[in-house]
């Protein structure tokens, strides 16, 4: 059995009378790509923010790599990477400057940072455009730059929130390849939030489905399919399973 790198227990976040996350309990194990699914406003991003220590849970507890993000957010943020839904970059910087800025914020020594920047830009295929202003980048290039940021930081866990949102098919397949690279070559544990269920099915073996703040299902895709349809994995799509849970909720 793999080690759990993320553990949550009855995690709840309340904004006024509304529960954005309601008693959520789940584990993510070392080296896996875990899919966090759900419609807009289901509470996926709120869970990520709580795990990053960027917002405090109303009740319940969470541990990331053995550390409580509410108590030691700086330590947690140093060990994990986060790619938000709409990644914001300083448009007047070029890719090298942007990566250098993030590297300095993470306290990476200069000589190591320089090596990592060169290697990361090569991995994501931006080495030819490294000196171009980010303002001139396409959406796909920006997403790849965000992945390069994860690479220079070399985190143990990465949270990817809609990494392929708004990308064309070619850019999407490049991002999918890069996510696989992160797991295989860097041995990263990845929590992937996405509406692009075909990609999730391809990359993840375990998923959780959230609806209106509640986690209505979690486990291996195979297991969820059997629960809902009673059939083997060749005869379903994740979209069908997801829709069944969604309609029932």
């Amino acid at each position: 059995m793999s080690v759990a790198v993320i553990e949550t227990q009855n995690l709840t976040k309340q904004y006024g009378p509304q529960k954005a996350v309601d008693n959520v309990t789940f584990n993510v194990y070392e080296g896996e790509i875990f899919g966090l699914l759900g419609p807009n406003g289901a509470g996926k991003t709120t869970i990520i923010l709580m795990l990053l220590g960027l917002t405090e849970p109303t009740s319940g507890r969470a541990r990331v790599l053995g550390v409580d993000p509410t108590r030691d957010a700086i330590k947690v943020k140093g060990m994990i990477g986060y790619m938000p839904e709409n990644v914001g970059f300083y448009n007047d910087m070029n890719a090298i400057q942007s990566l250098k800025f993030i590297g300095e914020l993470n306290g990476i020594p200069k000589d190591i940072l320089q090596e990592r920047i060169e290697s990361a830009l090569k991995t994501v295929g931006l080495d030819q455009d490294a000196k171009k202003k980010i303002g001139a980048y396409s959406r796909g290039m920006r997403q790849r730059l965000a992945i390069a940021e994860l690479l220079i930081k070399e985190p143990k866990v990465a949270f990817l929130d809609e990494p392929t949102l708004g990308l064309d098919p070619d850019a999407t397949s490049r991002v999918i390849e890069l996510i696989e690279t992160l797991r295989k070559e860097k041995n990263m544990t990845i929590v992937l939030c996405s509406h692009y269920l075909e990609m999730v099915q391809k990359l993840c073996n375990r998923v959780a489905i959230m609806i209106k703040g509640k986690m209505v299902a979690q486990g291996e895709i195979e297991k969820l399919a059997r629960e809902k349809f009673g059939i083997g994995q060749e005869e379903y799509t994740l979209e069908e399973i997801y829709m069944r849970y969604f309609m029932e909720a």
Binding site: Y15, T45, T46, L49, L52, L54, T55, I74, K75, K77, G78, Y82, P84, N86, V87, G88, F89, Y90, N91, D92, F101, I102, E104, L105, N106, G107
Partner: protein, 318 residues
């Protein structure tokens, strides 16, 4: 500490490479040079053939020369420097999604606001110091008088007061950029604060004085004095008035009080008359210390409010 340094460096570089900084800096530079040249030549013409009096160098800063003095210029337009540097410091980053990305790095949240404020203050300091140095250089050439130690010290104190004063406006602009999501709204709110303190407070002070002490049949002089006293007290809630009083008193050694002569009591008049010559710098400083403390206090309060609001904001809104 590392996070603060990185944010500070980035913000400072952003200020010095932004078009808006270059435009406002060039504009203020040009106006300052123009004022200095006009004042300098008029002093030179007036003093040609006579022995140059003491403290003539300070006239470069306080004399209007037919236009307006440098002190008046900074009092009036200085706030715009602070506003222009700070009105979108936080909300622009919120809107572009860069703030949440930066805060996801291992840095404390206060490093962001501290770094931005510090970089703004350093930018203002560099801007004001360079302008004062240029005025002094040009003044030296045009007037042909070397300033004494006392004059240099007065200029340095004036410079410090000006930096704190403009930093107050930077603080106000940062506060609005935290409170309002829209960049336009925060810019308008900052300008509204500037208009309120620059135009409406002096106007309101007059109205307040007349409403508290209505003109009557009794001793007219007494009524006018009371009105002037109230008007002055009310106008001092404006940082513009605080700054104007402090800067004009420190730069002008012949000014022995921040109050109008008519408002002084008999003992105060007697005390003032003991000093027939210009005041030593220590005495001028004693007069303006309450004003300097007030400007520092309001700047600190303004930054503290920004700091608290920023730290308490829910990350979802960032």
């Amino acid at each position: 500490m590392g996070g603060l340094k990185v944010i500070f460096k980035k913000e400072l570089s952003d200020h010095f490479t932004s078009y808006r900084f270059l435009i406002i800096f060039s504009l203020i530079w040009m106006v300052s040079l123009l004022i200095t040249y006009m004042v300098g030549t008029s002093i030179r013409d007036e003093l040609s053939g006579v022995t140059k009096p003491k403290y003539v160098f300070l006239l470069l800063f306080m004399s209007s020369g037919g236009f307006f003095s440098f002190i008046q210029f900074v009092a009036f337009f200085g706030p715009l420097i602070g506003v222009i540097l700070g009105f979108d410091l936080i909300n622009r980053e919120k809107n572009e999604g860069t703030l949440s990305r930066v805060l996801a790095q291992p840095i404390y949240r206060d490093a962001v606001i501290n770094g931005k404020f510090l970089a703004g203050v350093v930018t203002i300091s560099i801007m004001m110091t360079s302008i004062v140095l240029v005025i002094s250089g040009l003044g030296l050439k045009v007037v042909g008088v070397v300033p004494g130690i006392d004059e240099i010290l007065r200029i340095v104190i004036y410079l410090v007061i000006s930096i704190v004063y403009i930093s107050f406006w930077l603080g106000i602009a940062i506060l609005f950029s935290i409170l309002f999501r829209s960049v336009t709204t925060s810019a308008l709110a900052s300008l509204a604060a500037w208009i309120f303190f620059t135009f409406f407070v002096p106007l309101g002070a007059g109205i307040a004085a007349k409403s508290f002490v209505p003109p009557g049949e009794a001793d007219k002089t007494e009524i006018i004095l009371k009105q002037l006293s109230i008007q002055r007290s009310v106008s001092l809630i404006s940082p513009v008035s605080l700054y104007s009083e402090a800067s004009s008193t420190i730069i002008d050694p012949t000014k022995k009080t921040t109050r109008a002569y008519v408002l002084m009591g008999p003992f105060e008049k007697l005390s003032i008359e003991r000093f027939s010559g210009p005041l030593p710098i220590s005495q001028s400083l004693l007069i303006v210390i309450p004003y300097i403390i007030s400007i520092v206090a309001i700047t600190t309060i303004c930054f503290a409010v920004s700091y608290t609001v920023f730290l308490r904001q829910e990350i979802r809104s960032l």
